[in-house]
Subunit: 265 residues, 2 copies
């Protein structure tokens, strides 16, 4: 069985090219210790149900697999990078050079517009700064091992492909806040720059009140790109007003083989 | 500053090719939470002293650097994969695609015969099974995240290049014990297969008495390839009879950027 951590994208600046290997996003993201477990199966099953999952189908087809069973306790489409994690976990069920598998999962995401930088973040894991917009094998990155525990709440999905194809100014705003973050790589500055990006792009609106509630209670919060999902530091109590928050740690150990399924690893 | 974990090679089956990217070793190894810190400098300094370090010089030259200062509390040449860690940590001071930096460090090791599989183990980190003998970008691997704390003692060095160029039967013996380990990936079996490999190649002799002392005391032990170095599980007390052992954890977070030097991370 393979485990791949999910990833929160904090800041991104998309770049689409004819060649999916040259497509991706600059930006900042981090992996957490919840994610996706994958084991061989026939057809594509997600938490026990057959689903239509083109990003994973792409990997299954390319690697000539019969199918895959995916297990997770995180929701799809809500900014946890689950399509990337599912693609990567599925890819690693095949025996090929690891770097080819990283790139394959990236291409699967790009051609389906389900993610641009997620697989690169998951490839390297931890707090990852993507300094080039490309597949993992060509990615210029900086990575840090961080040990923070964060709080999360998710209230639903936002269509990544819709945002990527309709918003025109995200790329410039993303570059600006990426550069602001690089000036000082710290948790405080991650929240400041991530929120600045969400504000300036206008993406923040569906979760603005949640972020402000965390801040009023003395914590820090921002928005996961792309979902109606908030990640926070010292925000658990404030998040409770809006639903059912959960905790997860930033994790830095990436995709791996494991013996059995559990919620975290 | 960059930190790269050191790596213990347990079983290896070398393959040398005209092309260093196609050279490497099959085998099993793991990374630990002690390693090498690197920061930019002029010339090559190792723990404050200028040294002749061809593997690192290769990286410095290829990346057009002025030099590097390396800091570690582990000894060179004793089976901790420090030349690989030094090459990787040095490489990551440059801003290039990460996978190019992995391959560069690998080539630096191969052309100087200071290591064959170490950089691939360090690239992926954790407990790494190398199923192909090649540079990191082409390596077929399996990796596991293990959390064991182990005990180590080092009594000196063995020349990697001498073993690689004079021993003829290591390759077959390495394949045999690699296959034995793959049948059951567990700590017990790692010690069994690693020791089987050391026995059958005859490499065990300089540390046989230490390994037997640990076993007599109820622990498990084997030999780090290549050094007069023993790694053990529940062996600390027995190792004390032979010198000054230390503890380190298997670590799975790989090469990273960090803010400051410390003994472990």
């Amino acid at each position: 069985m393979i485990f791949c951590p999910s990833a929160i994208s904090c800041i991104f600046s998309p770049k689409l090219d004819q060649d999916p290997l040259k497509s991706g996003s600059l930006g900042v993201g981090f992996t957490i210790d919840k994610g996706v477990f994958a084991k061989p199966s026939s057809g594509i099953k997600f938490n026990g149900k057959k689903i239509d999952f083109p990003t994973v189908e792409y990997v299954v087809r390319e690697n000539k697999m019969n199918g895959v069973e995916l297990l997770t306790d995180l929701p799809l489409g809500c900014g946890f990078g689950l399509s990337g994690a599912s693609a990567l976990a599925t890819a690693f069920l095949s025996e090929k050079p690891a770097v080819e598998l990283f790139d394959l999962a990236h291409v699967a995401e790009v051609v389906n517009l389900t993610g641009l930088g997620t697989v690169t973040t998951q490839t390297f894991s931890g707090l990852v700064i993507r300094k080039s917009a490309s597949c993992p094998s060509r990615a210029v990155i900086e990575r840090y091992v961080w040990n923070y525990e964060l709080d999360f709440i998710s209230l639903g999905s936002i269509s990544t492909s819709e945002v990527l194809t309709t918003r025109k100014n995200i790329s410039e705003i993303g570059k600006k806040w990426l550069n602001e973050f690089i000036k000082k790589v710290s948790l405080d500055n991650l929240f400041r720059c991530s929120k600045g990006f969400a504000e300036e792009t206008g993406l923040i609106e569906p979760v603005r009140d949640i972020i402000e509630a965390v801040e009023s209670s003395g914590g820090m919060a921002s928005m996961a790109m792309l979902g109606k999902t908030v990640f926070a530091y010292k925000g658990f109590e404030a998040l409770k007003e809006f639903g059912k928050p959960f905790k997860a740690k930033i994790e830095c150990s990436g995709v791996r083989k494991i013996e059995s399924f559990s919620n975290t690893v």
